[in-house]
């Protein structure tokens, strides 16, 4: 079953087209990595998919339900109520974590499930504590974000996204804001999620990680998908000129 | 609930009726910073020559006196807005437009004097030329000396006319030597001299003579007449002069006693 379907997505900023006709399908349990140089449009694609940015043309579906449909090349969004429903299908982990600094770790994770999804408090707390123990943060539930390291904050933000019980998770360069020695702990968590067949789309600069964890790799440049396919093929034996050039910088 | 409401309504009407039964309340507007005419007394209540004269007038007329301290800068606005029934506080009537307001008879001459300190070398009005002279903003002395006033020419002869928020500050500046003299009403001047003693004196000749009176709204000519009649009774029985003496006013200025 397809969790996410994007077709012919187009996006302009100030008349400059940053996404040209991008299509992307993610099926249940699939892990897709998007790589490419900065300014290639990969983050914009993620922001369009998570409804933080509006696309100009194309369509977007979650679980077969339409969030954006294409009407003669123009993107038409569903009603706010429908979008609100669809938003619970996915979670997003930001590059800069974006935890709420005035909330404790536990409240960061539990408020939205109780407030937005109206779930039972005891169940939400149990879920949150379970997630924290999986993240190795059981003893930090009463800490405030500023008291945590970057890696710990990012793990809390992953727990926050997971507490909403999403069908899929997006990661927007989840290790880019971290010191190099802290990236490992985050990559380990994501690997763990992949092992549990969590559906994920990951924008990343960690090539080895993308190769190891993904089922599918997409290389973007200049707002188009230049090359995509099996991770080992793309990363070890790229065929396209631009892919070769980009990857050579990482070796 | 309805009973309670009815009871409250009855009480309110009773209160209004009581207030009405007490008779006319006469609200006099005063500058509470203008001794000896109107100021806050030692006991914290308002007093002064004008306040006490008004109390006597109200006694005669059977009115209840209410003293309303006002902002002298906005006195006519406040009168228009019916915050009080009159302005009675050493008010120079010469500057009030008789077309727009009802003005009582003058009850006192208000000579405008030059008050100075010993050693200033000021003996006559001509000596003030080129000197720094202080005045309270908006008083008749200020209006007279400013452009368009009756003594504007005299004012123009000063080195500088310095305007203060009140005479208390102006007098302090005179004591400190920041200014050479004050242009001031004779009543206020005599009050200051009485308080601070022999180092201070007034130039004998006034630079202008104004008159004090009471200002009412245009529509209140009847009220003005009543106050004037009662006031004349106080002139007849000597209260007019005896109160002036009590407050240290120069009885030579009491124009109605002549």
């Amino acid at each position: 079953m397809n969790i996410l379907e994007i077709e012919h997505c187009r996006k302009q900023f100030d008349g400059k087209e940053v996404l040209h006709d991008i299509s992307l399908t993610v099926s249940e349990g699939q892990v897709v990595s998007i790589i490419g140089p900065s300014g290639s449009g990969k983050s914009t694609l993620l922001r369009c998919a998570t409804l933080l940015e509006t696309m100009d043309g194309g369509s977007l579906k979650y679980l077969g339900k339409s969030a954006v449909r294409d009407e003669g090349g123009r993107a038409v969004y569903a009603s706010n109520a429908e979008l609100h429903q669809l938003r619970s299908c996915f979670g997003l982990v930001f590059q800069n974590f974006n935890l709420f600094p005035h909330y404790t770790v536990l409240k960061n994770i539990t408020e939205a499930p109780m407030l937005i999804q109206k779930r039972d408090k005891a169940e939400v707390y149990a879920t949150a504590r379970d997630l924290l123990s999986r993240m190795g943060l059981s003893d930090r539930e009463d800490a405030y974000p500023y008291q945590l390291s970057g890696g710990q904050q990012q793990r809390v933000s992953i727990a926050r996204a997971l507490a909403m019980k999403p069908k899929m998770l997006f990661f927007d360069e989840p290790t880019s804001a971290l010191d190099p020695e802290l990236t490992g702990e985050i990559l380990k968590v994501i690997r763990g999620l992949a092992a549990e067949h969590m559906t994920m789309v990951i924008v990343t600069h960690e090539m080895a990680f993308a190769r190891d964890v993904s089922d599918h790799v997409i290389f973007m440049d200049g707002g188009v998908i230049v090359e995509q396919g099996n991770p080992t093929d793309i990363i070890n034996n790229p065929t396209h000129e631009r892919t070769i050039q980009f990857l050579s910088r990482f070796n | 609930m309805k009973k309670l409401l009815a009871a409250i309504l009855v009480m309110m009407f009773a209160l209004i009726a009581c207030a009405g039964a007490e008779g006319t309340v006469f609200r006099m507007g005063i500058d509470a910073e203008y001794p000896p005419y109107s100021y806050m007394g030692d006991d914290g209540s308002y007093t002064g020559y004008d306040v006490e004269m008004c109390a006597k007038v109200c006694e005669i007329l059977g009115w209840t006196q209410e003293v309303v301290p006002i902002n002298w800068d906005t006195k006519l606005i406040q009168l228009d807005a019916e915050e009080m029934d009159c302005i009675w506080s050493g008010l120079t009537i010469d500057v009030i437009d008789p077309e727009a307001y009802t003005i009582s008879m003058a009850y006192s001459d208000n000579s405008q004097m030059i008050l100075t300190k010993k050693g200033s070398g000021i003996e006559k009005l001509d000596d003030v030329s080129g000197k720094r002279v202080g005045v309270q903003l908006g008083t008749s002395a200020d209006i007279l000396l400013s452009d368009g006033g009756d003594a504007a020419e005299f004012g123009a002869s000063f080195g500088e006319l310095v305007r203060y928020e009140n005479y208390n500050i102006a007098f302090t500046e005179l004591m400190a030597g920041a200014i050479d003299a004050l242009a001031i009403d004779i009543g206020v001047a005599n009050g200051k001299i009485a308080e601070y003693g022999e180092d201070y004196y007034c130039v004998a000749e006034p630079f202008a003579a104004e008159k004090y009176g009471i200002c009412f709204r245009k529509a209140d000519a009847e009220m003005c007449k009543q106050v004037e009649d009662a006031f004349m009774q106080l002139v007849e029985d000597g209260t007019y002069v005896s109160l002036a003496e009590k407050y240290g006013l120069d009885t030579a200025n009491l124009c109605l006693a002549k």
Binding site: L52, F94, Y144 | P69, A81, E82, Y167
Partner: protein, 216 residues
């Protein structure tokens, strides 16, 4: 008049001074938030009108605004309520004036919030109202507290402006005593009163800052 008598007399006005102070805060703080939101409105007309009002309120003296509120309606429409109820006129003028200043402080605080906070809440499904009330506003309050403290201290001193409408608050009474007694002592007493009030304000605000210092 003895020193004690002066203090007693001026204390009578202190109640009125406090009434101006507390009522102004009570109305201007929420009003300022509303004005800030209108100022940041996407509706250009609302934003422009609000912006013009803020500019006038901040660009003219409070003294003029007091006179305009009390006597403007009277001269224009013969409306006398604000002339008779001095405190009401004073509270309206003060609240509008301070709301304008608070609005700009709120706006600065709101605009300084990182966009990531809005986006995180948005993705989690918070509505705009929930985002503002639960995520943004609590953090804004912490950020703007020092600027608000400054304004509140200014407000304590500004209460003396009520003299413009001949409202007998503490400083007006002090000036009357000063003139009748030819004494500067009432000004000293007034200074002590204001200083004490502001010490209490500073203490209260530092307690607030401390209470909000549990996070960064």
């Amino acid at each position: 008049m003895t020193l004690t008598a002066m203090i007693v007399k001026m204390s009578e006005g202190l109640g009125r001074t406090c009434a101006i102070f507390f009522l102004t805060l009570l109305f201007s703080l929420p009003l300022g938030l509303l004005v800030a939101l209108m100022r940041m409105s996407k509706n250009r007309v609302v934003s422009a009108i609000t912006s013009a009002c803020i500019s006038i309120l901040r660009g003219t003296p409070l003294m003029l605004q007091l006179i305009a509120v009390a006597y403007g309606p009277f001269y224009l429409f013969g409306y006398t309520l604000l002339v008779k109820e001095k405190l009401l006129a004073i509270i309206i003028a003060f609240s509008l004036n301070y709301a304008a200043y608070f609005a700009e402080i709120y706006r600065g605080g709101i605009e300084s919030m990182p966009v990531g906070q809005y986006e995180a809440a948005h993705v989690l499904g918070y509505s705009k109202g929930q985002t503002f009330m639960r995520i943004i506003l609590p953090q804004v309050v912490k950020r703007i507290l020092p600027s608000v403290t400054n304004e509140v201290i200014t407000l304590v001193k500004d209460t003396s402006m009520a003299f413009t409408l001949a409202y007998m608050e503490m400083f007006s009474i002090g000036k009357q005593i000063a003139n009748s007694q030819s004494s500067f002592l009432p000004f000293v007493i007034a200074g002590v009163f204001y200083y004490l009030m502001n010490s209490i304000v500073a203490f209260a605000m530092s307690r607030c800052e401390k209470a909000l210092s549990y996070y960064r």
